[in-house]
Structures are given as C-alpha cells and as structure tokens.
Symmetry: C2
Subunit: 144 residues, 2 copies
Amino acid sequence: MFSKACVYGIRASIFIASQSLKQNRVGLISIAENIQTPEAFTAKILQQLVKHGIVDSVKGPAGGFQIEKKRINDIKISEIVDSLEGNDIYLACGLGLKNCNSSKPCPLHDKFAAIRNNLKYMLESTSLYELAMGVDIESTFLKR
Amino acid sequence: MFSKACVYGIRASIFIASQSLKQNRVGLISIAENIQTPEAFTAKILQQLVKHGIVDSVKGPAGGFQIEKKRINDIKISEIVDSLEGNDIYLACGLGLKNCNSSKPCPLHDKFAAIRNNLKYMLESTSLYELAMGVDIESTFLKR
DNA sequence: TTAATAAAAGATAAAATTGTCCTTTATTAA
DNA sequence: TTAATAAAGGACAATTTTATCTTTTATTAA
C-alpha cells in the first residue's frame, strides 16, 4: 500500500509527536530504535519531513527532532503521505491508466474511486495528535 | 497501490475475458497492444496467470490465451491480485509492523482495517465478467 | 576557540521491481 | 516430417526503491 519510506516516516512522525507532547526532543538513534527502522534510511526520511516543514530539527549537542506542541493536532497523516510519496495514492488510476477519468474510465474506476476516497478521508481526518496519544498511553505501538 | 505486474495482469485478464466472451482466443502481441503494456513483461505475467489456473494458454499456430466462458463470472479480481502479489494488500499492517494485531495494534490499526476490508470486499465481489462486459460495450477502457 | 555532538548532504551499494532478449517446447498445417 | 507459429522458460539489463557510509555544517559547552 504505502512505500517503506512512507510508513517509516509516519511511524517516525508519530514517535516524535508523542515525545514532543512530553517536551522531549529526540535524536535519530532513539527514533530508529523506537520505531525499529534502519538508522541511515530513517535519517533521509527525516530530512524530507524537515524540508516539508512537518518536523523541526536542531543540530548540535542536545539537538534532535521535535514538533511544535500546538501544531501536533493540526498535522494530518495525509500531509506526511503527501510529502513522502505525493498524492498519487488517492489520485492515480487503480489500473495504472494515464488518462482515466469519469468520461473515459477504466473498468474499476468507480469502485476504486470509492476506496480511494475512503482512504483520503481517513488520512485527512486523522491527526498526529490522536495517534501520538495512543502511543503515549501505550494502547498502540510503533514496533514489532 | 498495486504493483505494475498486478495492474497489467488485471488489465490482461479483463481483455482476455472480454475476447473470450466473443469466442476469440488472443495472442500476446494483441494483448499487449490492447492494454498498452510492454510485451515481454506482459508475457511473464501471463505465465503466472496460466500457472495459477486463471487463464488458459494454447501453443502453436492459432494459439493464444483464453478463459473458459462459463468460468468468467466465477473469477473474482481478488484471485488475480492474490496470484500476482499475494494477499498482503488486505492482510499486512498499514504501518509495516510484523506483529500488528488487535491485541497489540499500530496507531492506525483500526482505521486501516476498515479501508482494507472495503478493498478486500470490493475485489472479492467483483467478477471478471462484469468488468469484461463494460469493455465489450465500450463503456470502460483498458488503455490510455 | 576548541572539542564534542548531532543533523544535513552527498556518494555509493544492495535489493527489488520492471523490462528485454534469446532459446526451447508444443502445436498446427502444409 | 518439415516449416511456421506461438507460448514457456531462462538469462540478463535497466530502473526504482531501500539502505549504508562518509564528509560537511551547525550548535553547544567547556
């Protein structure tokens, strides 16, 4: 469904958010450990998230990654997905046609549109805050 | 969403079905042309579909691919997806966790389960027949 | 101002997916 | 029984994605 870059990015964002809610800035090593992802690859993904303004980074001793507390509720999962793999997931034709649209649809067009819209709505209406809270109270988990 | 192998395979199956409904056996070249896919790669995918018993093939002059007419309505799109990329799409954790389940869920577990179930249901309840019919009456299309 | 720390950036490398080409096998018809 | 046809199979190549390693830049504290 999603690329690894994307799921690692979502997991990383949730972890950073959950720590930011507790005023903790977190470093790469800690992130990779807590979401169980390859360190260097995770670093690349974090760079993207920083570039897209989803995550803030601070260099040097005591540096690391964080998300402004008051923004955590505004950031939706859709933004993370968009910045790591574009919005093709909700827009592209399910059967891979370039010019698939309601006037010249592929055989799965309508059925796929329904699914994609569900997905789009789900991602756009789910905030980092609610997911980070689940992790904080240990009702949900980011590894294993 | 789906791999190219998978979408090419679905398009090929629909095309073969639509031709089989008209009693036409079709060759690789014609298939690749009509669904606009790379010929040799399409051949590999067709081999998979033949191995999985979804498509029948006949070698030699006037040979080609076909699907038994009476089976076209029984074959669901889910079978094609299963044979070309396994059932991970409806089963695997949306955030890529190995052991994600309701007793130790990832943060998106429930929301993802809903989407995946929609997708699963859609693929399992859609037959090759209805999609092939749409192509035959030119209300849906397999290329461009 | 220097040493230590940690992210950013760049260059590669490995693996997976996608795509091509060539040979073999089966079938048909002349 | 031979020539032509078309799929099957195997080897290989290109591209994309995933992953690693090294160097540079920024920041902090001693």
